[in-house]
């Protein structure tokens, strides 16, 4: 589009040189140092670590507490109330610290902990796939202009033209049955399905982002320097360019994670997400909304958990972005 800026870089060094005066440290340590200074981010990180650890150790915690996410407990229900939890606060008791699920009497704390595992697993796996596919495709498209870029560009256009949520829902019966045909159990098939479609429809965004970054990175002189020293393409892509993409990738990942957790919940709400007996926060929330008026705690427990984690991710993600963005904070102006 513009030729006129091609040579503009020839003589405007002044902007960059203000950083000269700072004896710096590595970018990673710098980012970390900035991150550490952000109290909100540290709290958010604490929350997230706590959630991860409890999710990871859920079986242990649950068995120590003598709970089970799957066992029905009719004794905690009141048949005369249509199987609502017996007692106040949604059936809170010594046996069930957070109360029980109506109709089944399953323990809410145990399900919350196990649900975290499922929600986190889906979000983390999907985001990993997105990061890998999006990065590789983005790098290739950005570095290899020409028909490779054109084809990748058109494919992402096509994918982005798909109404995402609609496709997620519409494809669910088709794909889960295919997955089950491969021998997966239905509950696992749903989880894998969610991971696959999240990844499938999620990577184009990252690929575009990465492609844009690569387009500008490959004009950077250090890439030319690598070419000038005879480095093969592979080395240029993965040793020279890739390390410079960590910041956008990390930022994208931290933005995507809460979105994916919320998306899993929304799909479960719509009835195409995780299925019984697997607990997930979305599933719990979907079930609980109907009990809002009669058992409010049932709604608030998974709702609060979901909100806190998504919020923590968002706070943390913002902080990471700020920390990784060289433009924020440390300029003289």
């Amino acid at each position: 589009m513009s030729l006129d800026t091609a040579d503009a870089s020839a003589a405007s060094p002044a902007a960059a040189s203000t950083e000269d005066t700072f004896a710096g440290i590595s970018l990673r340590r710098l980012a970390w140092r900035r991150l550490k200074r952000d109290k909100g981010a540290m709290i958010a990180m604490g929350v997230l670590i706590l959630v991860f650890v409890t999710a990871l150790l859920a079986p242990l915690i649950v068995s120590v507490l003598g709970l089970s996410p799957y066992d029905f407990d009719n004794s905690a229900l009141d048949p005369a109330l249509g199987s609502l939890p017996a007692g106040s606060w949604g059936g809170v008791s010594a046996d069930h610290p957070l109360g029980v699920e109506p109709l089944t009497g399953r323990d809410l704390l145990a399900r919350l902990l196990y649900g975290a595992r499922v929600s986190m697993f889906i979000a983390l796996t999907a985001v990993t796939l997105i990061a890998i596919i999006g990065t590789v495709v983005g790098i290739v498209a950005g570095y290899k202009s020409g028909w490779v870029d054109t084809i990748i560009g058109r494919s992402t256009d096509l994918l982005l033209a798909f109404p995402f949520i609609l496709m997620l829902i519409a494809l669910s019966p088709v794909l889960t049955q295919r997955l089950e045909a491969l021998g997966l159990s239905p509950e696992n098939a749903r989880i894998i399905y969610l991971v696959i479609v999240f990844a499938f429809f999620g990577w184009p965004y990252l690929a575009r982002l990465i492609r844009g970054q690569v387009l500008s990175l490959r004009e950077r002189e250090f890439v030319e320097a690598a070419v000038a020293s005879g480095a093969p393409t592979r080395r240029i892509l993965f040793k020279e360019i890739l390390p410079n993409l960590w910041a956008p990738i990390i930022v994208y990942v931290t933005i995507s994670l809460p979105t994916l957790i919320a998306a899993e919940a929304a799909l479960s709400y719509l009835g195409v997400g995780v299925i019984e007996p697997t607990p997930s926060w979305g599933k719990m929330l979907a079930d609980s909304v109907r009990y809002f008026a009669v058992v409010p705690t049932y709604l608030f427990i998974p709702g609060t958990a979901l909100f806190v984690v998504v919020y923590a991710f968002n706070v943390f993600g913002d902080a990471v972005r700020d920390a990784l963005d060289p433009r924020t904070g440390r300029n003289l102006r």
Binding site: P163, A293, G303, Y311
Partner: protein, 329 residues
């Protein structure tokens, strides 16, 4: 410019064609026999076979696809003998589950979705952009922190959760509004507003949060540009600097996001329509998925895709109008 528009339209059409092909293929990969779905309970293999022929489901897939495309332009006639009926062009197919042509079915629910999307769009654009600017202008002060903090909270609530909370508090607990029960605005404007206000707020809350952040970042970036300094150096009042020089440049990227978000919603705000049981495109879509109503699924996906493709083109053109540097070639 004209050449660009034509080329963009052609690419858009290409994408729609690909979209329709992929959709068609994907959904015909359903394990259920579409012909079997047309004949109800008292079904015999003979009836299924007869219906298969009647619906053209016996043809190879590519031929079915061609029939579908033909139907888009020429309309489509189903059935045989005395019991034929026609879906007028542009025919997206015929739903045997609902006994209706898909196009009028979609057109029937589209207004609801349009009202929902446009109303929410206006709400969130106004609130999001204004608050975003506000935050940008109060950079580093508590007002910015408060605005952004609130935005982050809004951003962190899943939309269905916000919707349900609103529904339960506003409608059930406090009974400030009657239960949402959609009527077209021309029938009963008051009830229409009563029904739409919560869905609008729900969507607006979710999106406004995003737009506050986006606008603030864009504004800060723009306000750091050299030409803003030039405008100040000219002695322009701060108000003019921000309104005339800052806003226009700062808001340009927001056009892209806004256009695509609106298009996405026009393709069906599935979650909000479900929460508030609005009879819109999204609800139609999810119901047809649960019904395995293939023609309707294909139709809604295509219509939603159409909105996205068109929005992309419009956004690009708009961009060229706003930013004279963008040359459409």
């Amino acid at each position: 410019m004209t050449g660009y528009v034509i080329r963009r339209l052609l690419t858009g059409i290409l994408i729609l064609v690909l979209l329709s092909m992929v959709t068609f293929l994907l959904f015909n990969a359903l394990p259920t026999d579409p012909a079997a779905l047309t004949c109800g309970k008292s079904c015999t293999p003979q009836v299924i076979e007869a219906n298969r022929v009647r619906l053209g489901l016996d043809l190879p897939l590519w031929q079915q696809y061609l029939e579908f495309v033909k139907g888009l332009f020429l309309g489509r006639t189903y059935g045989s003998g005395s019991q034929t009926f026609t879906c007028d062009a542009p025919a997206l197919g015929y739903s045997f589950r609902r006994g209706e042509c898909v196009t009028p079915l979609i057109l029937g629910v589209l207004p609801v979705t349009i009202y929902l999307a446009v109303g929410a769009f206006i709400l969130w654009m106004i609130s999001g952009v204004l608050l975003g600017i506000y935050a940008a202008l109060r950079r580093g002060r508590w007002q910015e922190k408060a605005t952004l903090g609130a935005a982050l909270v809004g951003y962190s609530f899943p939309s269905f959760f916000i919707g349900l909370l609103l529904l339960f508090f506003v409608v059930i607990k406090w009974q400030l509004l009657p239960y949402p029960d959609y009527v077209p605005p021309q029938d009963d404007p008051v009830q229409f507003l009563q029904t739409m206000i919560l869905p609008w707020i729900t969507l607006a809350l979710v999106f406004a949060a995003f737009y506050i952040r986006l606008t603030r970042n864009q504004m800060l970036e723009t306000l750091g540009e050299d030409y803003i300094r030039t405008a100040r150096a000219k002695g322009l009042p701060e108000r003019t600097v921000i309104r005339k020089h800052g806003l226009r440049a700062g808001l340009t990227p927001i056009v892209t996001a806004a256009g695509l978000d609106l298009a996405g919603l026009l393709g069906g705000a599935i979650i909000v329509e479900s929460v508030f049981t609005l009879p819109g495109l999204g609800r139609l879509a999810i119901n047809s998925v649960l019904d395995a109503d293939l023609p309707v699924i294909t139709g809604t996906v295509l219509v939603a895709g159409f909105f996205i493709v068109v929005a992309n083109i419009i956004v690009d053109l708009l961009y060229a109008v706003i930013d004279p540097r963008v040359r459409l070639t």
